[in-house]
């Protein structure tokens, strides 16, 4: 596989993170914003050590990241299916179990197609999706600034900073992909800075929007960011939920496709005999994981998995003769 540019790599990872953020559950507060920011800062520092060591993984680390990508992919599918009703994914078959199954299968098929097109194609597509997404987030932020209330911006009462950092850690779906593919990017240290920096800014922007719109009711909404989008309508006579539904679905597909690409890449390295079936087998494992995760709150498990992914990156990195300089 050839190298990809810093911008493409960052866009692909950010779309995945945005999906995780869109499907964030639980009350939103200033503490949550600071927790996520702290989590990102910590991740950046550890990943900087990893990229400076060379960015290539040992065999056992690859095996771990394969499991981690299946876990993350399963979480993406589970979260997507869970949010179907809230973001009004509807079709001829209705919204029961059958409807969700169809949604899952169709998403998986498109995800498989996107994954098989390869990392470069997905990364190029991510740049275009990222540009459209940035426009949407900007419009949403502006409408939130106009319509939101400063009184909504609150600090948490019951939960401590540690809990918020844990939540911040959990709100990351692309640490594994970063660790696996960072060696393909020419300017690794700079791309790490770009990625984590942009992610911090975008996360803060999205969370502030959610906070301004749903601050007081975020405790009773299951998905505060989605609710915030539904509440913040920039145009009086026209709702824009459809744009969010488009963005959300596209982000879900790209997010899952990234995990499939990561998993298949690792699988082909660990088990070369899998060949082109790597994509399908990784996707099937993810779907199986999604049905196990479906209905469970995995915040703590996700945070632990993210912490492990973060820890294993510098530990599992091969010492490269030429450390990264760009």
């Amino acid at each position: 596989m050839n190298s990809i540019s810093k911008g493409q790599f960052c866009a692909l990872l950010l779309i995945s993170d945005m999906f995780t953020l869109f499907s964030l559950r639980g009350a939103v507060s200033l503490g949550n914003v600071s927790g996520i920011s702290a989590g990102i800062a910590l991740q950046f520092l550890v990943m900087l050590v990893f990229v400076c060591k060379g960015g290539e993984l040992k065999r056992w680390a690859k095996a771990f990241y394969l499991v981690y990508s299946v876990f993350c992919g399963g979480v993406v599918f589970a979260e997507f299916l869970r949010t179907c009703d809230i973001i009004s994914i509807s079709h001829e078959e209705g919204n029961g179990l059958w409807g969700r199954l169809i949604t899952a299968v169709l998403t998986a098929v498109v995800c498989l197609y996107c994954a098989r097109a390869g990392l470069r194609a997905a990364a190029r597509g991510a740049v275009i999706v990222g540009a459209a997404g940035a426009l949407f987030i900007a419009a949403d932020l502006l409408s939130a600034l106009a319509g939101g209330e400063t009184a909504n911006i609150t600090v948490p009462h019951s939960r401590g900073a540690f809990f918020e950092v844990i939540r911040g850690f959990a709100a990351s779906g692309s640490l594994g992909s970063f660790a696996v593919f960072s060696y393909m990017v020419k300017d690794r240290a700079s791309s790490a800075a770009w990625y984590f920096g942009t992610r911090a800014v975008l996360s803060a922007a999205v969370l502030f929007t959610a906070l301004a719109e749903t601050g007081r009711i975020s405790g009773i909404t299951e998905y505060p960011v989605i609710t915030a989008v539904q509440l913040s309508q920039p145009f009086e006579a026209q709702r824009i939920d459809s744009v969010f539904l488009l963005l959300f679905s596209v982000a879900a597909v790209f997010s899952a496709a990234l995990q499939v690409i990561t998993g298949a890449h690792l699988m082909s390295g660990l088990f070369p005999q899998t060949g082109r079936f790597g994509y399908t087998s990784v996707l099937l494992m993810m779907l199986a994981a999604a049905f196990i995760f479906y209905g469970n709150d995995l915040a703590v498990v996700r945070a632990c998995a993210a912490a492990a992914a973060l820890l294993f990156a510098p530990v599992g990195a091969k010492i490269s003769a030429v450390s990264d300089s760009g």
Partner: protein
Amino acid sequence: MEKNGLLPSLDSSIKEIRRISGGSSDVLINRFVSGGIHCALLCCEGMVSASVITELIFEPVTGIPQQKDARGLYRYINEELLLSTDRPEVNDYDTLFRLINSGFAVLIAEGMTGGLAFGVQGYASRGVQEPSGEGNIMGAHEGFTETIRINMSQIRRRLKSPELVMELLVKGSKSHTDLCLCYMKDRVPKELMERIRRSLDGLGTEAVLSTGYIRPFLEGERFEIFDTAGTTERPDVLCSKLIEGRVAVLVDGVPYAVVVPRLFCESFQTLDDYAYKPYYAVFIRWLKYAAFLTAIMLPSLYAAIVMYHPELLNSTLFMLLVEAEKKAPLSIVTESLFALIMYEMIREAGVRLPKPTGGAVSIISGLIIGDAAVNSGLISTPLLTVTALSVLCGLVVPELEPQMTVLRLAFLIAGGALGIFGVSLLACAVLVNICSAEDYGFPYTAPFSPFRSRGMGDTLVRRGIKKLQHRGFTVEEYHE
């Protein structure tokens, strides 16, 4: 066919020629004596100019003084006479037939195993006319014709630089079609040229009758919705592509040139853009991007919103659509599919039918679709408006019409079955397909993705010519 030279005996050689041609009546063999040597002049009826052949060949050749042998005759012709500017050598029957079938006259003589060929083409061909498919207001009104030599001269007239190279190739085991590889040798990446040559080497078809016969060999193997090898029927457009370091292939008998590599953004650029003020050119360019999206997405979004997401409509629009749709007997998707497929059928009929009948088709289709279908209540007026608008937008970017036609139907089915979610899924697949299109290392979506800020000056916007002239742009900047 005999590859080891012509037979030395003139009679045997003529017999062999008659055998190979099967006694074809258009192969003309004129026997005569020149300089005391028995000769024959071969040509193909209708392919040569009678006046040119008489003035430039027969008159000088019959006046040649006595020669010692045929070798002396050939030497005299080659050194003393200037019968034609295009004089390839003939050493076998394969070449002989290829040349006489291309409008050359071939002289063979007793005792010689080779022949002399003279370019005296004079076949009937269409003159240079305005291109029918690529309209232009402010630029030249000349298009390519079916004759490759005329097309080559049209390019040369516009690019007088010695850096412009035109290489002639012959492809097609039966058609022996002339192809011309055009490029600017100082601009084109060497690797691109080598890879294109390798691609054309793989062309083993029996005939090359249109650009469609060579495009699959120049494009990638994987399934791509959009064409990564473009075509143009305008010499001025082709020259602009050559200057940017692209490679063109002209095909004899086809008034189009194939251009490689092709980028998505090029479909939205016309030569007129550079004749207008930049602000207007930018407006037109954005209009085309919007038209492209509208052409593909409008019917599907209409179906998706009306069927699954009516909350997105404001109350006035909602009531208007409800009023219109409740009278229609068919579902929205069926109605839309009916209208779109009817349009495609009428369009296809209009293209293939003779011109006088084509007018009648337009009137009937206008009456049937525009009036009767709405009045009878088969199709609602808003849906017809949406369909017409979508089709009209598709005509703004005619190069992408085949893709838009199919994608419009696909998106409609996706939107009708799954709402906006279906549209999103299909949009993802199409986006990834476009982004994966890459031939010879040039991504089809460049300079948008991979993003190249320098490329934005002539894609997203159109900067002034004064700024663009210093850019020194070649397509190699987009190579990955």
